[in-house]
Amino acid sequence: MTLNRRRFLQSSLAGAAAAACWLKVPGLARAKGSEELIRMSERPLNYESVRSTFTTRITPVGRFYLRNHFDIPKVDIATWRLKVRGLAEKPLSLSLADLERMPQAKVEAVLQCAGNGRGLFTPQVPGVQWRFGAMGNAEWTGVRLKDVLALAGPKQDAAFVQLQGAEKPAMSATPKFIRAIPLAKAIHPDTLLALKMNGKPLALNRGSPARLVLPGWVGDDWVRALVDVEIRSDEPKTFYYDTAYRFPVAPGAPGAAIPADQMKPMTTINVKSLLGSLKDGDVLPPGVHPLAGVAFSGEAGIDRVELSFDAGKSWTAADLDGPATPYGFRVFRHAWKAEPGSYEVACRATDSNGATQPETPVWNPGGYLFNAFDRVKVEVRS
Protein backbone atom coordinates (compact mmCIF):
# COMPACT_ATOMS: atom_id res chain seq x y z
CA MET A 1 0.00 0.00 0.00
CA THR A 2 1.91 2.99 1.17
CA LEU A 3 5.51 4.12 1.34
CA ASN A 4 7.45 1.54 3.24
CA ARG A 5 8.56 2.08 6.78
CA ARG A 6 12.29 2.18 6.08
CA ARG A 7 11.83 4.90 3.47
CA PHE A 8 9.92 7.01 5.95
CA LEU A 9 12.39 6.39 8.75
CA GLN A 10 15.30 7.37 6.48
CA SER A 11 13.59 10.52 5.33
CA SER A 12 12.65 11.50 8.90
CA LEU A 13 16.24 11.09 10.11
CA ALA A 14 17.56 13.11 7.20
CA GLY A 15 14.98 15.78 8.03
CA ALA A 16 16.12 15.96 11.63
CA ALA A 17 19.75 16.29 10.47
CA ALA A 18 18.86 19.07 8.06
CA ALA A 19 16.88 20.92 10.73
CA ALA A 20 19.80 20.62 13.16
CA CYS A 21 22.18 22.02 10.53
CA TRP A 22 19.80 24.91 9.90
CA LEU A 23 19.54 25.73 13.60
CA LYS A 24 23.34 26.00 13.94
CA VAL A 25 23.48 28.79 11.41
CA PRO A 26 23.99 32.20 13.03
CA GLY A 27 21.62 35.15 12.60
CA LEU A 28 20.62 35.73 9.04
CA ALA A 29 21.81 38.96 7.50
CA ARG A 30 19.14 40.57 5.37
CA ALA A 31 19.80 42.88 2.46
CA LYS A 32 18.62 46.45 2.74
CA GLY A 33 17.59 48.54 -0.20
CA SER A 34 14.62 49.79 -2.14
CA GLU A 35 11.87 47.43 -3.19
CA GLU A 36 12.66 47.51 -6.87
CA LEU A 37 13.10 44.95 -9.59
CA ILE A 38 14.05 45.02 -13.26
CA ARG A 39 11.01 44.60 -15.47
CA MET A 40 11.31 41.88 -18.10
CA SER A 41 7.58 41.83 -18.88
CA GLU A 42 4.58 43.44 -17.28
CA ARG A 43 2.19 40.70 -18.37
CA PRO A 44 2.74 38.05 -17.30
CA LEU A 45 4.74 39.34 -14.33
CA ASN A 46 8.41 38.69 -15.03
CA TYR A 47 10.88 40.78 -13.05
CA GLU A 48 14.51 40.05 -12.21
CA SER A 49 16.40 41.19 -9.14
CA VAL A 50 18.83 44.08 -9.25
CA ARG A 51 22.47 42.90 -9.09
CA SER A 52 23.16 44.76 -5.82
CA THR A 53 20.61 42.45 -4.13
CA PHE A 54 23.17 39.67 -4.10
CA THR A 55 25.44 40.63 -1.24
CA THR A 56 23.52 39.00 1.60
CA ARG A 57 22.56 35.47 2.46
CA ILE A 58 18.79 35.97 2.58
CA THR A 59 17.03 37.78 -0.28
CA PRO A 60 14.28 40.09 1.00
CA VAL A 61 10.84 39.36 -0.45
CA GLY A 62 10.70 42.93 -1.76
CA ARG A 63 13.77 42.34 -3.91
CA PHE A 64 13.03 38.75 -4.92
CA TYR A 65 12.41 38.01 -8.62
CA LEU A 66 9.04 37.13 -10.11
CA ARG A 67 8.54 34.57 -12.87
CA ASN A 68 5.21 33.63 -14.44
CA HIS A 69 3.94 31.87 -17.53
CA PHE A 70 0.39 33.16 -17.05
CA ASP A 71 -1.54 35.79 -15.13
CA ILE A 72 -1.53 35.51 -11.34
CA PRO A 73 -4.56 33.46 -10.27
CA LYS A 74 -7.14 35.03 -7.98
CA VAL A 75 -7.15 32.55 -5.14
CA ASP A 76 -9.80 32.81 -2.42
CA ILE A 77 -7.96 31.47 0.60
CA ALA A 78 -11.24 30.70 2.40
CA THR A 79 -12.36 28.29 -0.31
CA TRP A 80 -8.95 27.13 -1.57
CA ARG A 81 -8.42 23.39 -1.37
CA LEU A 82 -5.47 21.18 -2.17
CA LYS A 83 -6.57 17.93 -3.75
CA VAL A 84 -4.38 14.85 -3.43
CA ARG A 85 -5.57 12.07 -5.71
CA GLY A 86 -4.49 9.40 -8.17
CA LEU A 87 -2.73 6.35 -6.76
CA ALA A 88 -3.84 7.17 -3.22
CA GLU A 89 -5.53 4.92 -0.67
CA LYS A 90 -7.38 7.95 0.70
CA PRO A 91 -7.78 10.94 -1.66
CA LEU A 92 -7.67 14.24 0.19
CA SER A 93 -9.08 17.74 -0.04
CA LEU A 94 -7.15 19.95 2.37
CA SER A 95 -7.83 23.54 3.43
CA LEU A 96 -5.18 26.03 4.52
CA ALA A 97 -6.30 25.47 8.13
CA ASP A 98 -5.73 21.73 7.68
CA LEU A 99 -2.16 22.42 6.55
CA GLU A 100 -1.54 24.92 9.34
CA ARG A 101 -2.53 22.30 11.92
CA MET A 102 0.13 19.87 10.65
CA PRO A 103 3.74 19.91 11.92
CA GLN A 104 5.64 22.81 10.36
CA ALA A 105 9.21 22.57 9.08
CA LYS A 106 11.68 25.17 7.92
CA VAL A 107 14.33 25.11 5.21
CA GLU A 108 16.58 27.74 3.67
CA ALA A 109 16.90 27.26 -0.09
CA VAL A 110 17.68 29.04 -3.34
CA LEU A 111 14.83 29.44 -5.79
CA GLN A 112 16.27 29.92 -9.25
CA CYS A 113 14.47 30.04 -12.58
CA ALA A 114 15.90 27.39 -14.92
CA GLY A 115 16.29 30.16 -17.52
CA ASN A 116 18.33 32.50 -15.31
CA GLY A 117 21.11 33.72 -17.63
CA ARG A 118 19.25 32.78 -20.83
CA GLY A 119 19.96 36.24 -22.25
CA LEU A 120 23.72 35.57 -21.97
CA PHE A 121 23.83 32.53 -24.26
CA THR A 122 25.35 32.72 -27.74
CA PRO A 123 23.69 31.95 -30.09
CA GLN A 124 20.61 33.51 -28.56
CA VAL A 125 17.52 31.47 -27.79
CA PRO A 126 13.88 32.51 -27.41
CA GLY A 127 12.31 33.06 -24.00
CA VAL A 128 12.48 35.65 -21.24
CA GLN A 129 15.99 37.09 -21.56
CA TRP A 130 16.99 36.79 -17.91
CA ARG A 131 20.55 37.88 -17.21
CA PHE A 132 21.53 37.23 -13.60
CA GLY A 133 18.63 38.14 -11.34
CA ALA A 134 16.12 35.28 -11.64
CA MET A 135 17.28 33.78 -8.35
CA GLY A 136 17.00 34.38 -4.62
CA ASN A 137 17.50 32.65 -1.29
CA ALA A 138 14.73 32.50 1.30
CA GLU A 139 13.67 30.74 4.47
CA TRP A 140 10.64 28.65 3.63
CA THR A 141 8.24 27.38 6.28
CA GLY A 142 5.46 24.88 5.81
CA VAL A 143 4.32 21.29 5.81
CA ARG A 144 6.54 18.48 4.62
CA LEU A 145 5.08 17.11 1.40
CA LYS A 146 5.82 13.61 2.66
CA ASP A 147 3.46 14.19 5.60
CA VAL A 148 0.68 15.18 3.20
CA LEU A 149 1.40 12.19 0.98
CA ALA A 150 1.45 9.88 4.01
CA LEU A 151 -2.11 11.01 4.87
CA ALA A 152 -3.19 10.05 1.36
CA GLY A 153 -1.28 6.76 1.39
CA PRO A 154 0.46 6.32 -1.97
CA LYS A 155 -0.19 2.90 -3.51
CA GLN A 156 2.58 0.40 -4.25
CA ASP A 157 3.15 1.45 -7.88
CA ALA A 158 3.37 5.17 -7.09
CA ALA A 159 6.51 6.61 -8.75
CA PHE A 160 5.77 10.26 -9.66
CA VAL A 161 3.89 13.15 -8.17
CA GLN A 162 2.21 15.47 -10.65
CA LEU A 163 1.77 19.09 -9.59
CA GLN A 164 -0.60 21.78 -10.79
CA GLY A 165 -1.24 25.26 -9.48
CA ALA A 166 -4.29 27.53 -9.70
CA GLU A 167 -2.87 29.57 -12.61
CA LYS A 168 -4.62 29.27 -15.94
CA PRO A 169 -3.50 30.37 -19.41
CA ALA A 170 -5.37 33.19 -21.15
CA MET A 171 -6.17 30.93 -24.12
CA SER A 172 -7.88 27.57 -23.64
CA ALA A 173 -5.58 26.01 -26.26
CA THR A 174 -2.47 26.92 -24.26
CA PRO A 175 -1.21 23.94 -22.25
CA LYS A 176 -1.71 24.14 -18.51
CA PHE A 177 1.40 24.42 -16.37
CA ILE A 178 1.70 20.86 -15.15
CA ARG A 179 4.92 19.47 -13.71
CA ALA A 180 5.95 16.22 -12.05
CA ILE A 181 8.68 15.08 -9.70
CA PRO A 182 9.87 11.59 -8.77
CA LEU A 183 8.32 10.23 -5.58
CA ALA A 184 11.79 10.05 -3.99
CA LYS A 185 12.12 13.86 -4.18
CA ALA A 186 8.50 14.36 -3.09
CA ILE A 187 9.10 12.40 0.13
CA HIS A 188 12.47 13.99 0.87
CA PRO A 189 12.13 15.58 4.31
CA ASP A 190 13.27 18.97 3.04
CA THR A 191 10.61 19.10 0.32
CA LEU A 192 7.97 21.45 1.65
CA LEU A 193 4.56 22.72 0.86
CA ALA A 194 5.53 26.20 2.02
CA LEU A 195 3.03 28.57 3.60
CA LYS A 196 5.59 31.23 4.54
CA MET A 197 8.55 32.96 2.90
CA ASN A 198 11.08 34.68 5.15
CA GLY A 199 8.74 34.23 8.09
CA LYS A 200 5.62 35.79 6.58
CA PRO A 201 2.63 34.25 4.79
CA LEU A 202 3.19 33.94 1.06
CA ALA A 203 2.08 37.00 -0.90
CA LEU A 204 -0.32 36.56 -3.81
CA ASN A 205 2.51 36.74 -6.38
CA ARG A 206 4.64 34.32 -4.38
CA GLY A 207 2.18 31.43 -4.55
CA SER A 208 -0.32 32.10 -1.77
CA PRO A 209 -1.53 30.16 0.06
CA ALA A 210 0.88 27.23 -0.52
CA ARG A 211 3.72 26.51 -2.93
CA LEU A 212 6.16 23.71 -3.48
CA VAL A 213 9.72 24.15 -2.23
CA LEU A 214 12.19 21.65 -3.68
CA PRO A 215 15.53 22.56 -2.14
CA GLY A 216 18.42 22.20 -4.57
CA TRP A 217 16.18 21.83 -7.62
CA VAL A 218 15.48 24.40 -10.33
CA GLY A 219 12.38 26.55 -10.04
CA ASP A 220 10.13 24.96 -12.66
CA ASP A 221 8.85 22.41 -10.13
CA TRP A 222 8.29 24.93 -7.34
CA VAL A 223 4.61 25.15 -8.31
CA ARG A 224 2.71 28.08 -6.78
CA ALA A 225 -0.82 28.20 -5.39
CA LEU A 226 -0.79 24.42 -5.58
CA VAL A 227 -4.29 22.95 -6.05
CA ASP A 228 -3.78 19.48 -7.47
CA VAL A 229 -1.38 16.70 -6.57
CA GLU A 230 -1.79 13.49 -8.54
CA ILE A 231 0.16 10.44 -7.46
CA ARG A 232 1.09 8.51 -10.60
CA SER A 233 3.03 5.50 -11.78
CA ASP A 234 4.29 7.31 -14.91
CA GLU A 235 5.38 10.73 -16.13
CA PRO A 236 2.75 13.11 -17.57
CA LYS A 237 2.62 13.76 -21.32
CA THR A 238 2.02 17.47 -21.09
CA PHE A 239 3.89 20.29 -22.85
CA TYR A 240 5.51 21.82 -19.77
CA TYR A 241 6.86 18.46 -18.69
CA ASP A 242 7.26 16.40 -21.82
CA THR A 243 8.64 19.13 -24.13
CA ALA A 244 9.63 22.24 -22.19
CA TYR A 245 12.14 22.48 -19.34
CA ARG A 246 14.40 19.80 -20.76
CA PHE A 247 18.19 19.81 -20.87
CA PRO A 248 20.51 17.85 -23.20
CA VAL A 249 21.80 14.54 -21.86
CA ALA A 250 25.18 15.43 -23.41
CA PRO A 251 26.40 18.83 -24.62
CA GLY A 252 25.97 19.52 -28.34
CA ALA A 253 27.39 22.18 -30.65
CA PRO A 254 26.06 25.66 -29.82
CA GLY A 255 23.03 26.38 -32.00
CA ALA A 256 22.60 22.78 -33.16
CA ALA A 257 19.22 21.06 -32.82
CA ILE A 258 19.10 18.29 -30.22
CA PRO A 259 16.76 15.28 -30.73
CA ALA A 260 13.91 15.07 -28.21
CA ASP A 261 15.11 11.68 -26.95
CA GLN A 262 18.41 13.30 -26.01
CA MET A 263 16.71 15.74 -23.63
CA LYS A 264 15.69 15.07 -20.03
CA PRO A 265 13.95 17.00 -17.25
CA MET A 266 16.20 19.21 -15.16
CA THR A 267 16.63 18.44 -11.49
CA THR A 268 19.42 20.04 -9.45
CA ILE A 269 20.80 23.56 -9.80
CA ASN A 270 24.42 23.68 -10.99
CA VAL A 271 27.19 25.54 -9.17
CA LYS A 272 27.06 29.33 -9.62
CA SER A 273 28.25 32.63 -8.15
CA LEU A 274 27.50 36.29 -8.69
CA LEU A 275 29.24 39.50 -7.71
CA GLY A 276 26.69 41.75 -6.07
CA SER A 277 28.79 44.76 -5.17
CA LEU A 278 30.02 45.68 -8.67
CA LYS A 279 28.20 46.19 -11.93
CA ASP A 280 29.26 46.81 -15.50
CA GLY A 281 30.41 50.37 -16.09
CA ASP A 282 31.19 51.18 -12.45
CA VAL A 283 33.96 53.76 -11.98
CA LEU A 284 35.77 53.41 -8.65
CA PRO A 285 38.46 55.52 -7.02
CA PRO A 286 41.79 53.80 -6.35
CA GLY A 287 41.94 52.20 -2.90
CA VAL A 288 40.51 49.26 -1.02
CA HIS A 289 37.00 48.21 -2.02
CA PRO A 290 35.08 45.58 -0.06
CA LEU A 291 33.56 43.20 -2.60
CA ALA A 292 30.74 40.77 -1.84
CA GLY A 293 28.61 38.29 -3.72
CA VAL A 294 26.78 35.00 -3.37
CA ALA A 295 27.50 31.43 -4.40
CA PHE A 296 25.32 28.33 -4.38
CA SER A 297 24.99 24.86 -5.83
CA GLY A 298 21.91 22.61 -5.85
CA GLU A 299 22.24 20.00 -3.16
CA ALA A 300 25.94 20.65 -2.44
CA GLY A 301 27.49 23.30 -0.23
CA ILE A 302 29.99 25.85 -1.51
CA ASP A 303 33.63 25.04 -0.76
CA ARG A 304 35.47 27.82 -2.56
CA VAL A 305 34.94 31.07 -4.44
CA GLU A 306 37.72 32.70 -6.43
CA LEU A 307 38.01 36.14 -7.94
CA SER A 308 39.97 37.28 -10.96
CA PHE A 309 40.89 40.86 -11.84
CA ASP A 310 42.54 40.05 -15.15
CA ALA A 311 39.73 38.44 -17.18
CA GLY A 312 40.31 34.98 -15.77
CA LYS A 313 44.10 34.70 -16.19
CA SER A 314 44.79 34.43 -12.46
CA TRP A 315 42.54 33.77 -9.47
CA THR A 316 42.48 34.75 -5.78
CA ALA A 317 40.48 32.93 -3.10
CA ALA A 318 37.67 34.96 -1.55
CA ASP A 319 36.63 34.69 2.11
CA LEU A 320 33.44 32.76 2.79
CA ASP A 321 30.86 33.68 5.43
CA GLY A 322 29.60 31.11 7.92
CA PRO A 323 29.31 27.38 7.41
CA ALA A 324 28.17 26.01 4.06
CA THR A 325 24.41 25.45 3.99
CA PRO A 326 23.07 22.58 1.92
CA TYR A 327 20.78 24.63 -0.32
CA GLY A 328 21.27 28.33 0.37
CA PHE A 329 23.46 31.23 -0.70
CA ARG A 330 26.95 31.43 0.76
CA VAL A 331 28.23 34.99 0.86
CA PHE A 332 31.81 35.61 -0.28
CA ARG A 333 33.92 38.67 0.41
CA HIS A 334 37.22 40.16 -0.68
CA ALA A 335 39.00 43.43 0.08
CA TRP A 336 40.15 44.53 -3.37
CA LYS A 337 43.18 46.83 -3.44
CA ALA A 338 42.26 48.58 -6.66
CA GLU A 339 44.87 50.46 -8.66
CA PRO A 340 44.06 52.67 -11.64
CA GLY A 341 43.16 50.77 -14.78
CA SER A 342 40.42 48.91 -16.64
CA TYR A 343 39.36 45.58 -15.18
CA GLU A 344 37.26 42.59 -15.98
CA VAL A 345 36.41 41.23 -12.57
CA ALA A 346 35.21 37.63 -12.57
CA CYS A 347 34.12 35.15 -9.93
CA ARG A 348 33.76 31.38 -9.96
CA ALA A 349 32.61 28.94 -7.30
CA THR A 350 33.46 25.32 -6.55
CA ASP A 351 31.03 23.10 -4.63
CA SER A 352 31.60 20.28 -2.15
CA ASN A 353 31.36 17.74 -4.99
CA GLY A 354 34.30 19.44 -6.72
CA ALA A 355 32.20 20.98 -9.51
CA THR A 356 33.53 24.37 -10.65
CA GLN A 357 31.84 26.97 -12.80
CA PRO A 358 33.06 26.76 -16.39
CA GLU A 359 34.31 29.64 -18.52
CA THR A 360 31.74 28.77 -21.20
CA PRO A 361 28.23 27.53 -20.36
CA VAL A 362 26.65 24.42 -21.86
CA TRP A 363 24.58 25.86 -24.70
CA ASN A 364 21.12 24.34 -24.97
CA PRO A 365 17.99 25.22 -26.97
CA GLY A 366 15.99 26.28 -23.90
CA GLY A 367 18.70 28.56 -22.54
CA TYR A 368 18.71 26.75 -19.18
CA LEU A 369 21.21 26.43 -16.34
CA PHE A 370 23.64 29.14 -17.43
CA ASN A 371 26.55 29.00 -15.01
CA ALA A 372 29.61 30.40 -16.74
CA PHE A 373 31.63 32.48 -14.33
CA ASP A 374 30.31 35.95 -13.69
CA ARG A 375 32.15 38.89 -15.29
CA VAL A 376 31.86 42.62 -14.65
CA LYS A 377 33.81 45.39 -16.42
CA VAL A 378 34.84 48.35 -14.27
CA GLU A 379 37.25 51.31 -14.32
CA VAL A 380 39.47 52.44 -11.47
CA ARG A 381 40.56 56.05 -11.71
CA SER A 382 41.01 59.12 -9.57
Partner: protein, 121 residues
Protein backbone atom coordinates in the same frame (compact mmCIF):
# COMPACT_ATOMS: atom_id res chain seq x y z
CA UNK B 1 35.49 77.07 -61.22
CA UNK B 2 33.47 73.99 -61.99
CA UNK B 3 35.87 71.73 -60.12
CA UNK B 4 35.49 73.34 -56.69
CA UNK B 5 31.72 73.34 -57.06
CA UNK B 6 31.68 69.65 -57.94
CA UNK B 7 34.06 68.91 -55.08
CA UNK B 8 31.94 70.93 -52.67
CA UNK B 9 28.82 69.20 -53.89
CA UNK B 10 30.46 65.80 -53.50
CA UNK B 11 31.73 66.68 -50.04
CA UNK B 12 28.35 68.04 -49.04
CA UNK B 13 26.68 64.94 -50.41
CA UNK B 14 29.10 62.66 -48.60
CA UNK B 15 28.66 64.63 -45.39
CA UNK B 16 24.89 64.50 -45.74
CA UNK B 17 25.03 60.74 -46.39
CA UNK B 18 27.38 60.20 -43.48
CA UNK B 19 25.24 62.32 -41.18
CA UNK B 20 22.00 60.87 -42.43
CA UNK B 21 22.73 57.20 -42.57
CA UNK B 22 24.19 56.56 -39.15
CA UNK B 23 21.69 58.90 -37.51
CA UNK B 24 18.75 57.12 -39.14
CA UNK B 25 20.19 53.74 -38.15
CA UNK B 26 20.91 54.90 -34.61
CA UNK B 27 17.40 56.27 -34.15
CA UNK B 28 15.86 53.04 -35.32
CA UNK B 29 18.22 50.89 -33.24
CA UNK B 30 17.67 53.10 -30.22
CA UNK B 31 13.89 52.74 -30.53
CA UNK B 32 14.18 48.97 -30.83
CA UNK B 33 16.58 48.71 -27.91
CA UNK B 34 14.14 50.74 -25.82
CA UNK B 35 11.40 48.26 -26.63
CA UNK B 36 9.32 50.24 -29.12
CA UNK B 37 7.37 48.56 -31.90
CA UNK B 38 8.36 50.37 -35.14
CA UNK B 39 5.57 51.83 -37.23
CA UNK B 40 4.76 49.35 -39.96
CA UNK B 41 1.63 48.00 -41.64
CA UNK B 42 2.24 44.79 -39.63
CA UNK B 43 2.31 46.55 -36.26
CA UNK B 44 -1.46 46.54 -35.61
CA UNK B 45 -1.51 42.83 -36.37
CA UNK B 46 1.25 42.14 -33.85
CA UNK B 47 -0.45 44.31 -31.26
CA UNK B 48 -3.79 42.64 -31.87
CA UNK B 49 -2.61 39.03 -31.91
CA UNK B 50 0.55 38.71 -29.82
CA UNK B 51 -0.61 40.97 -27.04
CA UNK B 52 -3.75 39.02 -26.26
CA UNK B 53 -1.69 37.10 -23.70
CA UNK B 54 1.46 39.16 -23.04
CA UNK B 55 2.88 42.65 -23.24
CA UNK B 56 5.28 43.81 -25.94
CA UNK B 57 8.47 43.31 -23.91
CA UNK B 58 8.03 39.59 -24.41
CA UNK B 59 8.98 40.03 -28.05
CA UNK B 60 11.06 43.22 -28.03
CA UNK B 61 13.69 41.63 -25.74
CA UNK B 62 14.29 38.74 -28.19
CA UNK B 63 17.16 38.74 -30.72
CA UNK B 64 16.31 35.89 -33.07
CA UNK B 65 16.86 34.58 -36.57
CA UNK B 66 13.96 34.35 -39.01
CA UNK B 67 13.85 30.59 -38.44
CA UNK B 68 13.55 31.08 -34.68
CA UNK B 69 10.79 33.68 -35.15
CA UNK B 70 8.98 31.29 -37.46
CA UNK B 71 9.07 28.52 -34.84
CA UNK B 72 8.01 30.92 -32.09
CA UNK B 73 4.98 32.18 -34.04
CA UNK B 74 3.99 28.60 -34.91
CA UNK B 75 4.21 27.66 -31.24
CA UNK B 76 2.01 30.62 -30.31
CA UNK B 77 -0.57 29.61 -32.92
CA UNK B 78 -0.65 26.12 -31.41
CA UNK B 79 -1.15 27.83 -28.04
CA UNK B 80 -4.26 29.55 -29.39
CA UNK B 81 -3.17 32.79 -31.10
CA UNK B 82 -5.92 33.31 -33.70
CA UNK B 83 -3.80 34.05 -36.80
CA UNK B 84 -4.29 32.85 -40.38
CA UNK B 85 -1.31 31.57 -42.40
CA UNK B 86 -1.11 34.93 -44.17
CA UNK B 87 -1.24 36.87 -40.89
CA UNK B 88 1.40 34.60 -39.36
CA UNK B 89 3.66 35.24 -42.36
CA UNK B 90 3.24 39.00 -41.94
CA UNK B 91 3.95 38.78 -38.21
CA UNK B 92 7.09 36.66 -38.75
CA UNK B 93 8.33 39.11 -41.40
CA UNK B 94 7.88 42.08 -39.06
CA UNK B 95 9.57 40.35 -36.11
CA UNK B 96 12.46 39.02 -38.23
CA UNK B 97 13.06 42.43 -39.84
CA UNK B 98 13.40 44.17 -36.52
CA UNK B 99 14.54 41.94 -33.64
CA UNK B 100 17.59 40.34 -35.22
CA UNK B 101 20.52 38.56 -33.52
CA UNK B 102 22.85 41.53 -34.22
CA UNK B 103 20.61 44.09 -32.51
CA UNK B 104 22.16 45.42 -29.25
CA UNK B 105 20.69 44.01 -26.00
CA UNK B 106 17.40 45.46 -24.74
CA UNK B 107 17.49 48.40 -22.34
CA UNK B 108 15.79 47.03 -19.27
CA UNK B 109 14.41 49.38 -16.65
CA UNK B 110 13.94 49.21 -12.93
CA UNK B 111 10.36 49.25 -11.79
CA UNK B 112 8.51 49.29 -8.48
CA UNK B 113 7.34 45.96 -7.21
CA UNK B 114 4.00 44.89 -8.71
CA UNK B 115 1.12 44.80 -6.22
CA UNK B 116 0.76 41.48 -4.48
CA UNK B 117 4.49 40.75 -4.29
CA UNK B 118 4.82 41.42 -0.55
CA UNK B 119 2.34 40.26 2.11
CA UNK B 120 -0.24 43.00 2.69
CA UNK B 121 0.96 45.19 -0.19
Amino acid sequence: MTRPIVTAALLFGAAAWAADKPTALDERTKALVEGQLPDDPARPLVQGKCMLCHTGEYLTQQRLTEGQWQKTVEKMRKFGTPATDEEAKTIVGYLARNWTPDLPPPRLVRAPLPRGSIPGK
